[in-house]
C-alpha cells in the first residue's frame, strides 16, 4: 500500500477525551480520498496528524514504504514529503505568487525552478499572475495558488483542509471540477477533509466517514451515498449554503 495508517490515536493536552481513536486506513497511489464528517468529529485532527503538525499518542504511519511515525519514530512535518493546502490557504502575504510557489522548491538550479514554476502555473491556469500578491487575487485564484504551491515540490501526498469553505457558492462547482482535473493530471495522491457531501461526491475516489474520532464508514461515493446513516440524513437535509457554515475541527 502506498499509504498505510494503523491504529492512530490522539487526544489534546487539555482534554482527556480521545479526539481520534483506532484510525486504520490504506490508500493507493493516485487515489483521492475524502474524510467526511461533522464539525468536531476529528476529521481535521486526522489531517494534522498525517501532516505531522500534531503528535499522535499511538499508532503507525507508512508513506511510500517510508516509516513516518510509530512508537520509535516521528518524522518532522518538513521531512515527510507531504504537501498541504490550508483552509484559509495561508499564502505568505509578503511574497508574490511566484515567490510563494518557489518557496518550497528543493535546491535546484534557477532554470529548473523557473521551469517548475511555469509548469504548475499552467496546471492551475494562472499564467501571468506571477507578480501579483495574495491580496490582489480572488478567493478562487488564491486557492489555486495554494494548490500550485503544495504541488510544486512534487510531494508524495497532498492534504487539503476544507478546500472549498472560503469560496462563494456560485464558484464552487467550477472550482471543484478544476481541482479534480488538476489532481488527476498531476497524478497526485490526495486526502481532503470536508463536511460537505457534495464536495466529497464530486472529488473523491473513496470516502471515509468519521464520527466521534472513529471511522464510521468507508466506501466509494456512489456506494456510500446510497446508504445514508442518521448523521448523513441530517447533513443532506441542510442546503449547501448551511453545510458550508459548519466549521471544521
Amino acid at each position: 500500500m502506498f499509504i498505510d495508517i494503523q491504529n492512530m490515536c490522539f487526544n489534546y493536552t487539555n482534554s482527556s477525551a480521545k479526539a481520534v481513536e483506532g484510525f486504520t486506513f490504506s490508500v493507493q497511489k493516485g487515489e483521492v480520498i475524502s474524510i467526511l464528517g461533522r464539525s468536531g468529529s476529528g476529521k481535521s485532527t486526522i489531517l494534522r496528524l498525517i501532516a505531522g503538525l500534531e503528535m499522535p499518542k499511538c499508532g503507525s504511519f507508512t508513506l511510500a514504504g517510508k516509516k513516518i511515525f510509530d512508537d520509535y519514530t516521528f518524522v518532522q512535518p518538513e521531512k515527510r514529503g507531504i504537501g498541504m493546502v490550508f483552509q484559509d490557504y495561508a499564502l505568505f502575504p509578503h511574497m508574490c505568487v511566484a515567490d510563494n510557489i518557489l518557496f518550497g522548491l528543493p535546491k535546484m538550479s534557477r532554470h529548473e525552478k523557473m521551469k517548475r514554476l511555469k509548469e504548475v502555473l499552467e496546471l492551475v491556469e494562472l499564467e501571468g499572475f506571477e507578480k501579483r500578491y495574495p491580496h490582489q487575487l480572488s478567493g478562487g485564484q488564491q486557492q489555486r495558488v495554494a494548490l500550485a504551491r503544495a504541488i510544486a515540490p512534487q510531494p508524495e501526498l497532498i492534504l487539503l483542509d476544507e478546500p472549498f469553505s472560503n469560496l462563494d457558492t456560485d464558484l464552487l462547482v467550477k472550482i471543484r471540477e478544476d481541482l479534480r482535473r488538476i489532481l488527476k493530471k498531476a497524478n497526485a495522491t490526495a486526502i481532503f477533509v470536508t463536511h460537505n457531501q457534495n464536495d466529497a461526491h464530486a472529488l473523491a475516489d473513496r470516502i471515509i466517514k468519521i464520527k466521534d474520532g472513529r471511522i464510521d464508514q468507508v466506501g466509494r461515493p456512489c456506494d456510500l451515498l446510497g446508504i445514508p446513516t442518521n448523521d448523513e440524513v441530517e447533513l443532506e437535509l441542510l442546503p449547501e449554503e448551511s453545510q458550508k457554515e459548519l466549521v471544521s475541527v
Partner: protein
Amino acid sequence: MTKDGFGMMRRISNVNGWTIGSVLIIILLFVPNLSIVTGIFTPPSENWAHIQEFMLLGYIKSSLTLVFFTAIFTIVIGLSLAWLIAQYDFPLRNFMKWALILPLSIPPFIGAYTYHGILNYTGIIQKTLRNQFDITPNPAFFDIMNVPGAIFIYTLFLFPYVYMITRIFLSNQAASLIESARTLGKSSVDIFFKVVLPISRVSIIGGVSLVILEVLNDYGVVKYFGIQTFSTAIFQTWFGLGDLDSSIKLAASLMGIVIFLLVIEWVLRGGKKYSFASTKVRPLPLVKLTGKKAVIATSYTLFIFTVAFLIPVLQLLDWFVLTFGKVPMEEVLTYTKNSIIVAGTAATLIILFSLVIGNFSRITKHKFGNVLPKLTILGYSIPGAVIAVAVVTTFIAIDRFLAPLYLSMGLDSALILSVSLVMLVSAYIIRFFAIGYNSIESGYAKIGTDFRDASRMLGVSGFRTFFKVDIPMMKGAIISGFILTFVDILKEIPLTLILRPFNYDTLATKAFQYASDEKIMEASQASLLIVGVSAIAIFVFHKLLREEPE
C-alpha cells in the same frame, strides 16, 4: 523498552532549540529576583531593627499616600478626557486625541525639577509677580517639594496611561451600549455615571495599575523632593549605611506591597484580562458640541495639555537657549552616545529574547509553554530599586564564583562583571522585558501558526521558517516593541544610577545629576533630548502604527 518509554523518547527528541533557548532566557531573567526572596531569611542586622521600629511605617505611609492620591487624580483626569475625546466632537479634538498622550514623554523627574524651577523664588511666576506686579507672595505657597507636590507631578505625567487605555476601549468597544443608553433617553451625565463608568472599570483599573507601578518604581521625583519612600530608603540603606542585607529586606517589603496591589487589581478586574464582550470594532459615532459646551471641552483639554506638556517643554526650551554652549558639546555627545548604546543594546536583546520565547510559547503544546513566559514579564511590576538590589547580589555572586578564572587570566580585580555594562544591560532586560514581549506576543498572535505550518509542509525547517516567514510578517511588532522598550530605557533612572559603571553617564543620569546639583538650566539639554526622542516615538507609535479606527 516499554511503549511508553519510547513515546517519551520521541517527545524528548522533539524538544528543540526554541525550548532550550527559552528555558535558559527565562532562568536568566527570573533567577536574580529569587535573591530577594532568599534575602528575607538572612539574619537581620542592627540597622534592620532600627528601620523596622522607626522608619518602616513611615515608608509604607508615604508610599501608599502617593499611590492612593495619584491613582484618584489620574482616574479623574484620564477618564474625563477619554470620555470627552471618545464621545464628543469639538474644536482641536483630533489634535488632542493623540497630543494628550505626549505628557508620557516627560519622565516625572524631569517634570518635577522643571516645575520646581518654574515655581521657586527665582522662577518665572514669582519673578513676574515681583517685577511686573510688585507682589511678593509667600514662597511656601509655591513650594511643591513635598508629598502633595509629588502627587501633582505624578498626576500630570502619568494620567495618559488611564486616558489612553480607557479612550481606546470607549471608542471601539462601547458603541452599542452607549447608543442603547442614548436611545433610552438618558442624559450625557446619566450615561457617564450609569454606563461609561461601570463598563470602563477594567480599562481604568488596567491604566491605573500602570500608574501605581510607575509611582512605586519612581526614584527621581521623591529623591529630588526629599520624600522618604521605599525607593529612596533602599538606596539610602544600601549606600548610606552600607547595609545590603537590610536593603534586600526593604526591597522584599516593597515587593510584598506590589504583590498585594496586583492581587487587589486582579480581584477588582474579577480575574478577567479584558472586558470586551464583542471582538467587533465599531467606532462610537461622535456627538458634535457647539457653543459654550464646545468652548468648555476645548478649554479643559487644552488646559491639561498645556500644563502637562506645553509649559514644561517651553520652560526646558527657554533654559536650553539660556545655557546653550555652557555644557560642552563633546560631553553632550558622549552621554547621548552612551544612552543610545545601552538602550539600543538592551532593547535589541529584549526583542531577540522575546522572539525566541514568544515562538516557543506559540509552538509548544505543553501548558508550561504558556506559564513560563508570564514569569518573565513580572519584572515590569518589580520596582527598579528592587531589581537593582537583585541584580547586584547575583552579579557579585557570579564574580565570586568566577574569581579563580579571573585570577588564572591574570586579571587583578575580583569584580569584573559587577562593575561592567553587562550588569546594567541585564537589569534593563529584566525590568523592561514585558514591554518588548507584549508587542512581540501580540505580533505572533496576529499571524497565528498557519503560515508556519504551511512553510513546514513545504519542507522548510522551523528555523528557516522563522527567518523567511515569521520575521518578515512580524516587522511591525518588532519595530513597535523596539521603539517602546528603547524609549522606556532612555528615561530610566534608579537602575542606571545604581548599576552604571563608574563615570558612565546617560542622558537621564546627567539630567538628574545637574538637577540634583541645582544646575536646573544645564539639565535642560539632556532633558530635551529625552523628551524629544520619546515624543517622536510616542507620535510614531500611537499616531502611525497603532492608530485606532474612528
